[in-house]
């Protein structure tokens, strides 16, 4: 039997590339992702960065999977460390099968950093880069030669991926990078990793063309295809990529992006645009959402449609700008003073981000209220492979909009007409005879200020009644796993991929569970409460300390005694082993209690 047949097929690979910010870790991961995608694998990448431009230990993580995964795996197969400090920082994700490749230009790894079981290889990446190219930055291209050889990528494949990646940067940069790759291949030879002797056999999986996209990009794209034409924002991590994508693309669709002086301005610019009938969106995260609260109340009172993306990050206050959290749920559902209707949607992967943003645009105009999209840093910024989106599925519904023709059939036009469903027809400025008054004051049907108590009650009730009207039209939950299982798991945002992987692991360990992904958080749908109350036990997985999601379910009628809260708020993305361990331990405890009883 020759060596090659002993190599397993590459089915699930997790690689961390870590170093000082600016070392180019992300470039390496992107290159690797591109090669593995071309072989038909699904890839998922994650960034662990700091809120500074350069420096500090940062990491980019890649998972390549032969099926479908929307999370990084529990164990890292290969850690590439451009800085020795990156090794201890990522230690907890390593196991005895892990390989560490580190830059030993500054000396060997101190004894005792790694256990005896973990294989570690030092290579003078930085020294070679400086020696050969007079530029430290080429160390990442050098490392790629080593990484490819360790994993078992053919040399040609690596070269082609470099040519693809650097072709737009000119022949000189291309040459340097290809030379750097060759330096890396020689270093690999010295370490004994010759071509064809890597860890895996990289098989080609037949797969139709697919997309590599982040949640933020998918929301920006969904907004555009849904006819979104005006975006206003103030740069704030981790939502800024929404604006970046739209700056590049929206003008090609006839749209405009405005960077405002602050979030107060951003949401009010958005309101100005929304008043003209233009589909409008803002994206922000906790601190910006706090500033936008006055505008959100205005949307409620004025019955103005707007889509608001919240890419949640560690709070409160400035918190942890680059870390995922889901601690804005209370703010999304209850933020702002006064009573007013709103919709809160919660996507789970980039595909969901796209379609739910389309829904958000339609719902905002149908029900003339704010529609939030609750994302989080990980869902917003991590990349995932998805099948091409079905653009034909996008249907535009602008609700009860009156144009000149339909308006002419109306004898008296009242912007805030009392109707059975609570939704009043609307005109847009420019429509002859459609003049209206829109206001944040309590008002009569014409929009004129009113404090009359009878009118007040009718107006509040009219607005609130939209919550009931919209119920049948709100996005339904995603259901996964064994639908007869009495063990349920609930989670939103980045926990989507984590929980899906947990279901598989739990099934392997003999525990049947099902995952309920609520895609509408507010108004609460009956199906969500029914799911909880039909299960024996429901694990609610969320990234905050208070259990805001679980609290919301209980408030809306879920049986609290069935709920077990798995709360994760250390700023790291939760992994599936945490969910599996939590469920298994709880089940064992329950079993133990039964036996005692």
């Amino acid at each position: 039997m020759n060596q090659e047949t002993l190599q397993p097929n590459l089915e699930d690979l997790n690689v961390i590339v870590s170093g000082q910010g600016g070392d180019g870790s992300l470039t390496v991961v992107n290159l690797l992702a591109s090669v593995l995608r071309k072989n038909g694998m699904s890839v998922y990448t994650e960034r662990d960065v700091l809120s500074r431009i350069k420096g500090g230990i940062t990491a980019a993580t890649l998972r390549a999977f032969s099926g479908e995964r929307y999370t990084i795996g529990n164990h890292i197969d290969l850690l590439v460390a451009f800085d020795i400090d990156a090794v201890p920082k990522n230690l907890r994700q390593l196991n005895k099968n892990s390989i560490v490749l580190y830059d030993n230009s500054g000396g060997p790894l101190p004894d005792g950093v790694l256990g005896d079981e973990i294989r570690a290889f030092g290579a003078p990446l930085s020294r070679q880069a400086v020696k050969t190219f007079r530029r430290d930055i080429y160390k990442n291209s050098i490392s790629f030669g080593l990484i490819g050889r360790i994993l078992g990528l053919p040399d040609d494949t690596m070269r082609i991926s470099f040519e693809d990646r650097f072709k737009r940067m000119g022949p000189q940069i291309m040459k340097y990078n290809l030379d750097a790759l060759t330096v890396g291949l020689s270093l690999a030879d010295e370490l004994g990793y010759v071509e064809g002797k890597g860890l895996y056999r990289i098989q080609k999986i037949e797969r139709k063309p697919h997309m590599l996209i982040t949640g933020n990009e998918a929301m920006a794209f969904g907004f555009s295809v849904a006819g979104g034409r005006f975006y206003a924002g103030y740069p704030i991590t981790p939502s800024t990529d929404v604006m970046d994508w739209l700056i590049k693309w929206s003008p090609q669709f006839g749209g405009v992006v405005r960077q405002a002086e602050d979030e107060l301005s951003a949401i009010n610019m958005a309101i100005g645009s929304a008043l003209t009938g233009t589909r409008t969106m803002v994206a922000t995260c906790g601190p910006g959402l706090s500033l936008m609260q006055e505008g959100i109340g205005q949307l409620g009172m004025g019955e103005i449609p707007l889509v608001i993306v919240d890419a949640q990050r560690g709070g409160p206050s400035t918190g942890m700008p680059t870390k995922p959290e889901q601690s804005d749920i209370n703010l999304l559902v209850f933020g702002g003073h006064g009573d007013f209707p709103r919709i809160v949607l919660a996507p789970g992967n980039p595909e969901d981000c796209f379609y739910l943003t389309v829904d958000a645009c339609n719902l905002s105009q149908r029900y003339q209220c704010p529609v939030f999209i609750a994302s989080d840093q990980a869902l917003s910024q991590n990349t995932a492979t998805i099948d091409p989106l079905d653009l034909q599925r996008v249907v535009i519904d602008q609700g009860k909009r009156l144009d000149s023709a339909t308006l002419s059939e109306v004898e008296v036009y009242k912007r805030y007409l009392f109707t059975e469903d609570g939704v009043s027809p609307y005109t847009i400025p420019g429509t002859p005879d459609g003049m209206s008054l829109v206001t944040g004051n309590e008002h009569d049907e014409f929009g004129l200020v009113s404090t009359d108590p009878v009118n007040r009650v009718r107006m509040v009730d009219k607005r609130q009644s939209k919550m009931k009207t919209m119920l049948p039209h709100l996005p339904r939950a995603g259901r996964f796993g064994d639908v007869d299982a009495k063990i349920g798991i609930i989670g939103i945002g980045m926990t989507f991929g984590v929980i899906l992987e947990s279901l598989d692991t739990l099934a392997d360990r003999g525990i049947d569970a099902q995952y309920f992904q609520p895609r509408t958080l507010w108004p609460m749908l009956e199906e969500t409460i029914a799911f909880i109350n039909d299960c024996d036990v429901v694990y609610v997985v969320e990234l905050n300390a208070e259990g805001q999601l679980a609290g919301l379910f209980v408030r809306e009628g879920a049986d609290a005694s069935r709920i077990r809260k798995l709360l994760h708020y250390d700023g790291t993305p939760i992994r599936s082993d945490a969910v599996v361990d939590f469920v298994v331990e709880d089940q064992n405890r329950a079993l133990g209690e039964e036996e005692v009883a």
Binding site: A226, V256, A270, I271, T276, P432
Partner: protein, 287 residues
């Protein structure tokens, strides 16, 4: 013909300067043949922030201080609309002061009329940013928003009127609307509009105002000279009125919008219309 709201009767005190501002605005709109259904008045919070209720056109009552971002958003979204912002000195210079700076800098083709009475009338007479040092408890120097505007390189139209001089106020309002209508950018008109209840300044202002249009040496297109003269007048305790500065700056919507398309609000957004472009965007994720 469909009937819609009947414009309200003003809620202002008898003698309030805001009556004159509304009259000048309505007359100027009429003189310029600005269609009521094609115009939108965006009003702030405060006594002056009820003006939109009294005029037959599209009206929006903004959040306190947010007239200008709202107006900018509306103009960018539908550049064929006449967008007029109105409000008071508290709304525009205190809570909304930051937005004034950035709107002057952006230069969108909207008209902004601030009814400056040097006090917070609706909350019963507290100091505003334009109240002089010594007004009530106020121990801060007053702000001159025109001088602020002069210091911002993007500004293109700065004027001050006085409700005690209605003919000039009408001219200035007309010029301001024309400036914005012709796509030359942000027309900022401050109107000295006395509050007869909490800060009745008719008598002082009558003597303090200095009409630069009567001054043959005043050159409203020479920013440096104009700035210097306005500073001098301020030091003399005078309140300059008239067209104080007018310059040529590219308007925001000229550069911000893709002019191959109709105004955003008027586009046909059926996905089929741009399917090839959306497809291209999708393909950018497939490489």
């Amino acid at each position: 013909m469909t009937k819609t709201f009947t414009p309200a009767r003003p809620i202002w005190c008898a003698g309030c300067g805001d009556f004159g501002v509304q009259q000048a605005l309505e007359s100027a709109m009429k003189n310029l043949n600005i269609e009521s259904h094609n115009s939108m008045i965006i009003a702030g919070i405060g006594c002056s922030g009820s003006l939109q209720n009294n005029v037959r056109c599209y009206g929006y009552h903004a959040l306190h201080g947010r007239v200008l971002p709202t107006a900018t958003g509306a103009k960018l979204a539908n550049s064929s609309l006449t967008v007029i912002g109105v409000g008071g000195d508290g709304d525009g210079y205190a809570i909304g002061g930051g937005h004034l700076v950035h709107t002057l800098k952006r230069n969108p083709s909207v008209t902004y009329i601030v009814m400056n009475n040097g006090t917070y009338g609706l909350t019963k007479g507290q100091a505003s940013p334009t109240s002089p040092n010594g007004y009530g408890e106020n121990n801060e120097e007053d702000l001159d928003p025109i001088l602020l505007g002069m210091s911002i390189p993007g500004s293109s139209f700065l004027a001050r009127g006085y409700t005690g001089q209605p003919a000039q106020l009408l001219d200035l309002t007309t010029s301001a609307l024309e400036h914005a209508e012709s796509g030359r950018g942000f027309a900022f008109l401050e109107v000295l509009s006395p509050c007869v209840t909490y800060n009745d300044t008719y008598r002082e202002w009558r003597t303090d105002v200095y009409d630069v249009e009567q001054d043959a040496d005043y050159n409203s297109s020479d920013k440096t000279a104009a700035f210097s003269r306005l500073m001098e007048l301020r030091e003399q305790g005078r309140l300059p009125i008239g067209l104080l500065y007018r310059g040529e700056r590219v308007a925001l919507e000229q550069t911000a919008l893709n002019h191959e398309f109709p105004p955003l609000a008027l586009q046909d957004i059926e996905p089929g219309k741009l399917m090839d472009k959306y497809q291209k965007a999708m393909e950018s994720f497939m490489r």
